[in-house]
């Protein structure tokens, strides 16, 4: 079979010498069979956790957010911490599918589908927190500008909190569309394979009548590219605007211009960590090691070490500026972070986010699955603490020392947070069962350039051969020629 020259230096992204048929079988197989006992057990557990979470949300709506540990000084606690944490996690999917598409990174095809699904579920979890934090959730439509009988009194377009409403809802909508447009051809693949009457009917409905004609694909590619072009700045805008919620205020510790890039880097950092946490388990259980290879894991770990280091530099810059600015309030805010009553939160954050990703400078650790999994958990925890540090430590000692407090969450806040984790996992487990976890069509389109059977020699082999020949002939240039294995 003919194919273009593939540089032997490229590491294969699809292993096991797959054919197109095998790719379909491997990825669509788990969707078609009956659910396994392990899956049923897992989803029953997460669904119960989610239901307990929703019941607690109901409780907090019924009795008001007086049931939280918030007080006059700390008005934002676990709720907004969780909101920012979940939005951050929701950054990996669209980054992988949009920005990496524009950068022509082929490894994204192995993980983009599931990462996008995670994005959507994480943004759903994130969106719950501002809504329940409003207290009177039944008036939530007040955040949208609609003609009303109060003047009409419009929303405040100068407020970052309103920009956030637009940013999060646009991000959710665009991510959902991008994800579903990519999913349509793969659902059609499942439709054409399943035999059960109801399965055929359901996949027929959800695959929207896709056939895969040349014109459909041409439009598909055009749409994907432009959606990626639109979604790329959108990803960067969302956490930028979330950071404006803090940066445009005058609270010491929040009022800094470094926030937008620092928040975006942190969001990508935490998003990749969550993708790794889930995908390392999923690739094992669904036997996807040939499609989500060590090369994929290493690429993601490289992104983690980059963004983790950016976050580390940002933390240190904040400390430096608090001293260099000469502002006593800024100075106190940061001294209080490092050595105040919440010192343990600050140092958890520093350990998990700044020190732990540095291990990934070592290649053998980047390619170690168990180590990566453990580290991804550390980063998830560290990034949650980052938001806790920014929000709670900056608020708990305000300008009036008599109002200083030590905020502790109540069981309501803790249960709601754990409930969103359960909701997130339930959604993910459902997705894994009903839809192909890997973008089938996209993986096939990179087979000829990234399948292991098309990369015949390892880079070491080629290098050794070239060196040997160069020594015997003395000519280097004539040896480094692309080789075509047929024609």
């Amino acid at each position: 079979m003919g194919h273009a020259f593939v540089s032997p230096i490229r590491e294969p992204l699809i292993t096991g010498r797959k054919t197109y048929k095998q790719i379909t079988d491997d990825i669509c197989g788990p969707v078609e069979g009956p659910p396994t006992k392990a899956w049923l057990a897992a989803i029953s557990f997460t669904a119960v956790v989610a239901l307990i979470g929703f019941a607690t949300i109901g409780y907090s709506i019924l009795y008001g957010i007086g049931t939280y540990g918030l007080d006059r000084t700390v008005g934002w606690g676990w709720d907004i911490t969780n909101f920012v944490w979940w939005v951050g996690i929701g950054h990996a999917g669209t980054l992988i599918s949009a920005i990496l598409l524009l950068f022509r990174q082929k490894w994204r095809t192995g993980v983009n589908r599931s990462a996008e699904a995670m994005t959507i579920f994480a943004v759903m979890c994130a969106g719950m927190f501002p809504l329940i934090h409003m207290g009177r959730i039944w008036l939530m439509f007040f955040v949208f500008p609609y003609p009303n009988s109060r003047g009409p009194l419009w929303v405040n377009f100068n407020s970052p909190l309103l920009w956030d409403v637009f940013a999060i809802s646009t991000y959710f909508t665009v991510s959902l569309l991008f994800w579903y447009v990519g999913l349509i051809p793969d659902l059609a693949t499942v439709r054409d394979r399943v035999t059960g009457k109801w399965q055929k009917k359901l996949y027929g409905i959800f695959s929207f009548g896709w056939r895969g004609s040349a014109k459909e694909w041409q439009r598909f590619e055009s749409l994907s590219l432009i959606l990626a072009g639109l979604a790329a700045p959108l990803v960067l805008s969302v956490h930028t605007i979330v950071s404006f919620d803090f940066a445009t205020s005058v609270i010491p510790g929040w009022h800094t211009t470094i926030f937008p890039p620092y928040f975006v880097a942190g969001a990508i950092f935490s998003g990749f960590a969550m993708v790794l946490t889930l995908m390392l388990v999923a690739r094992k259980l669904l036997k996807l090691e040939d499609y989500i290879t060590i090369a994929h894991i290493e690429s993601m770990n490289k992104v983690i070490v980059l963004t983790g280091s950016i976050v580390g530099v940002a933390y240190i810059t904040e400390l430096f500026m608090s001293w260099y600015s000469g502002s006593p309030y800024e100075g106190y805010a940061f001294r209080n972070r490092v050595s105040g009553p919440y010192w343990w939160a600050y140092w958890t954050m520093m350990t998990c986010n700044v020190i732990s990703p540095q291990f990934f400078w070592v290649q053998s650790l980047r390619r170690n699955v168990i180590f990566t999994f453990i580290l991804s958990i550390f980063i998830n925890i560290g990034m949650w603490f980052e938001r806790f540090v920014i929000i709670v430590i900056s608020l708990h000692r305000d300008m009036l020392p008599s109002a200083w407090s030590y905020y502790v969450p109540t069981w309501v806040e803790v249960t709601i947070f754990i409930g969103t984790l359960g909701f997130f996992m339930t959604c993910f487990l459902l997705f894994v069962k009903v839809a192909p976890v890997v973008a089938v069509a996209e993986v096939k389109s990179i087979l000829k350039t990234s399948g292991d059977q098309y990369i015949t020699k390892s880079s070491e082999q080629v290098e050794a051969e070239i060196n040997q020949l160069a020594q015997s002939t003395g000519h280097y240039e004539s040896l480094i020629k692309p080789q075509y294995d047929d024609e």
């Binding site: 079979m1 003919g2 194919h3 054919t19 197109y20 790719i23 379909t24 003047g151 009409p152 009194l153 419009w154 377009f157 100068n158 970052p160 309103l162 920009w163 637009f166 940013a167 646009t170 909508t173 665009v174 569309l177 447009v181 349509i184 051809p185 693949t189 439709r191 054409d192 394979r193 409905i205 959800f206 929207f208 009548g209 896709w210 056939r211 895969g212 004609s213 040349a214 014109k215 459909e216 694909w217 439009r219 598909f220 590619e221 055009s222 749409l223 432009i226 959606l227 639109l230 979604a231 700045p233 959108l234 805008s237 605007i241 404006f244 089938v440 069509a441 996209e442 096939k444 389109s445």
Partner: protein, 190 residues
């Protein structure tokens, strides 16, 4: 408006996208008119090989995006200067920098939603659409090149098609009737 009508399609199935590409080029060189190609994934260069016009979806995306920009800017300006101007410590009512985030978001939102809806429309994608499937394997691992046959097609033309399919390496050749709608003006533009 129902322009659905029955078509008889003679098609060949190929095992590799590069064989399909060569087959398409050969068939067109022989002067045969290809009905369509169905593939499991986007094959680069297939649209040029088939002589398809480039899609204008991106132009529509720009128009949708520009609509979003204008909507956001005019609406926020109108709210803050005409409908309900509020004096915030003497600051200007028309504060353009503050409008940029929402303007950006609406631009992206309008462009994305508009393009996706148009894409679904021109590709006839909607829940409940049930296309006539020539071969279920074309969404998995086979590549299809099809030719339309009707009463005016002579036996020698049919033989030509079959010969080209065989010569270009089709692993299976078959005929099937399908129902298909003709493209209207909008679908032809995009």
């Amino acid at each position: 408006m129902n322009s659905k009508h029955s078509k008889r399609i003679l098609y060949g199935l190929y095992e590799d996208e590069e064989i399909l590409l060569k087959a398409v080029k050969n068939a067109r060189a022989e002067g045969l008119k290809i009905w369509n190609c169905l593939t499991p994934f986007p094959v680069h260069g297939l649209d040029q090989a088939l002589g398809l016009k480039d899609t204008r979806l991106h132009t529509a995306g720009f128009v949708f995006g520009a609509t979003g920009t204008i909507t956001a800017l005019t609406f926020m300006s109108w709210v803050n200067t005409v409908s309900y101007p509020i004096n915030f410590g003497g600051k200007p009512n028309l504060s353009l920098p503050a409008f940029i985030p929402v303007t950006f978001e609406l631009t992206v939102l309008f462009a994305s939603v508009g393009m996706v809806l148009l894409y679904l429309f021109i590709n006839r994608l909607a829940p409940g659409t049930e296309p006539d499937i020539l071969d279920p394997r074309t969404t998995s691992h086979l590549f299809l090149m099809g030719f339309e046959i009707d009463d005016s097609t002579s036996q020698s033309q049919i033989n030509d098609v079959r010969r080209v399919l065989q010569e270009t390496g089709a692993v299976e050749i078959a005929e099937k009737n399908i129902e298909e709608e003709e493209d209207g003006a909008i679908r032809q533009i995009f």
